[in-house]
Symmetry: C2
Subunit: 438 residues, 2 copies
Amino acid sequence: MQKNTNTEKNKTAPFELQALAGGGYNTDVDVSPASVSTLDRWLARKLLGLLAHPPFSVVLWNDEEILTSTTKPLVRVHIHDSQALHQLLMNPALHFGDLYSVGRVQVEGDLLSFLIATYQALKTAPPFRKLNKAQTYLFNINRPRLNKITDSRDNMHYHYDIGNDFYEGWLDCEAMQYTCAYFPAPEMTLEQAQRAKLDHVCRKLRLKPGDRVVEAGGGWGGLARHMAKYYGAKVRSYNISHQQILYAREKTKAAGLDENVEFVEDDYRNISGEYDVFVSVGMLEHVGREHYRELGDTIHRCLLPQGRGLIHSIGRNKPELMNAWIEKRIFPGAYPPTLREMMNIFETHEFSVLDVENLRLHYAKTLKHWLARFEQQAEKVEKTFDSAFVRAWRLYLTGSIAAFNVGAMQLFQVVFTRGANNDIPWSRKHLYPTNESD
Amino acid sequence: MQKNTNTEKNKTAPFELQALAGGGYNTDVDVSPASVSTLDRWLARKLLGLLAHPPFSVVLWNDEEILTSTTKPLVRVHIHDSQALHQLLMNPALHFGDLYSVGRVQVEGDLLSFLIATYQALKTAPPFRKLNKAQTYLFNINRPRLNKITDSRDNMHYHYDIGNDFYEGWLDCEAMQYTCAYFPAPEMTLEQAQRAKLDHVCRKLRLKPGDRVVEAGGGWGGLARHMAKYYGAKVRSYNISHQQILYAREKTKAAGLDENVEFVEDDYRNISGEYDVFVSVGMLEHVGREHYRELGDTIHRCLLPQGRGLIHSIGRNKPELMNAWIEKRIFPGAYPPTLREMMNIFETHEFSVLDVENLRLHYAKTLKHWLARFEQQAEKVEKTFDSAFVRAWRLYLTGSIAAFNVGAMQLFQVVFTRGANNDIPWSRKHLYPTNESD
């Protein structure tokens, strides 16, 4: 397993924010406290106005508080220099994350409440929405992400190869699932809910002993091992993250499952062979809209006539690009599709969609568990990386809770077969066994 | 209730096929037996060739049989005159139905097997598919169906006002459901399965006493009465079929439910008021793709913030126009959408799709029940209408079984709420109560 320490920097390290902290973002930044001008005050009011006067105040670098209503603000947003204020006004979706990470913007009060209020304000503030849309669009033009096979490898390396140790610190200990868990009973632990998710997926696929499964984007191998161990399936799992593959192979061998689970370090487009089951949990977000047909072609090539398929992905109710900062700092090339967009995978080859389930609130709950565990590890993470890294991840996890909570993000599980396959169950009752807690 | 008899013809009578029977389709048709030319034989072979040599033969009007393989044909298709042969070649999707209805084309052997084999042949015969597509397209250009409010009324009158007695003869006796039933246990009777469907819909909507429900396209009022009687809901049901409304009001009064169920003879676009639940079972097929946004606007206008919605509709895996003959003779203006197309209802106002279930095989089974009951009534129906009407309905019901059986048609139930509504269940287990047969 890879060990990341403060002294081991390389050019693909995901967070290069430390340069920002001392004003290195633009070389002419002056972050030393300075006087507040009339223009600064006007701009701060403008910022709050764009958000349709949300329930928070702005505290400027001279401790002057800008309020837009007489009620006590929910949180106070501290802006520590004038350039930070200007950047926030120019492209808040992009710059807030970086400025927050390096501490040039701080939130006094509950970060989650602040982010939920911001999402809700964005929804009802038309000028801001337009502005934000235009900026996101421009931002995207500047940084085209074609997700060709080599791009995909770089993107995956960027996020998933930052260290298995890091993820082990706050994901569930059993299956290392970095995807939405399933809480049929809301009081479940994260471990129980991730196991319930794996079973839910296996039941949806009506997995049985001897089934040949191909997995696209297998993470640390948790689903593949679960399918082999509890359902007797033979799994071939594709992944382009080198670190994940190494970890997955080691774990699988230790569990004595390596005869039935094979990990292939390759792109989903290179899947070969024929299978009873196609499954992909949490990869589609990284595929890119332009490639959905290729994914459909891949499934068409590899799925047997009576085969079953499942795709699990973050999604949207309406097309919208990924938040600019998350796309830049956390998930390069990521895009959460709408159900309409997902149909590009299925329509060309006339796959039949049998079942769609939206697990949106389950992701908010999963993320709450992750954030709580992450906070317990924060000190250790700061030692390995730095404080900007910790703040960036705190913002990313908290912001994601907010996004799923307010309905800005969805989680779709889509079950499908070939159009002419009549071997389909008469009800979905088998997904809800009566002798289990779920 | 309207009584249709042979002597009661009017200009909107749905079947005007009797004119065809005596050669009146084109005035120059000669249906008397005539000699078979070399060209006729060549055309008959061409017809079978277009279908990629399906497992059936063509028997020409001089009893000469055209075979394309040495194996015994599954069925024999008798073509009784040369013009029928020419019409079949020119536009089989459109003309087969009319020619079959008036008896100028007959099928010797099992009609369902023939139609299933035809569907399968169409899937694998590329030249035919192209031809068929072009013809359907041209056909559609010739007969634009804008489904404005007045068109919709005409279209509904055409199909649903042909007589409540007629539908009573072969639909389930309890709820008069002219939509897909739900057979969680395949051996259920039609009455049980229609009741199970109504309960499945009510459970998906988490219907509770006092809920205000608006229904778009309420048929004979079966769902509205079920919701009021078993779930204590207050239902306002919109429908533009006059005959159905009269029937629905009478039945509802007789059941003592008229205080809680109101029928409004009006278009879905004119729905007023605010509701906890929006439901539409079997109307979307008649709405027309161009109007999905209007339907979304209607739902947006009338659904309360915590409201739930369900749309149940025939659909497709890939965009394709309704079979030309069915669109012409049975369902004017009808179009079965893909899931992608249905999203036009939901995206504009950012509704959140929570659950999609595909009940394709349930519709094949429902139609088998309908066909069996229809055949028991065939003699009576022939006396009321005529033999062409009976054959047309036999073809329509049998062809629909085939379409759902081979996967050419789907049945989607889509559950949705507003995007920001967090009052959603943690699992779909409540749809599968353990103390019931389903």
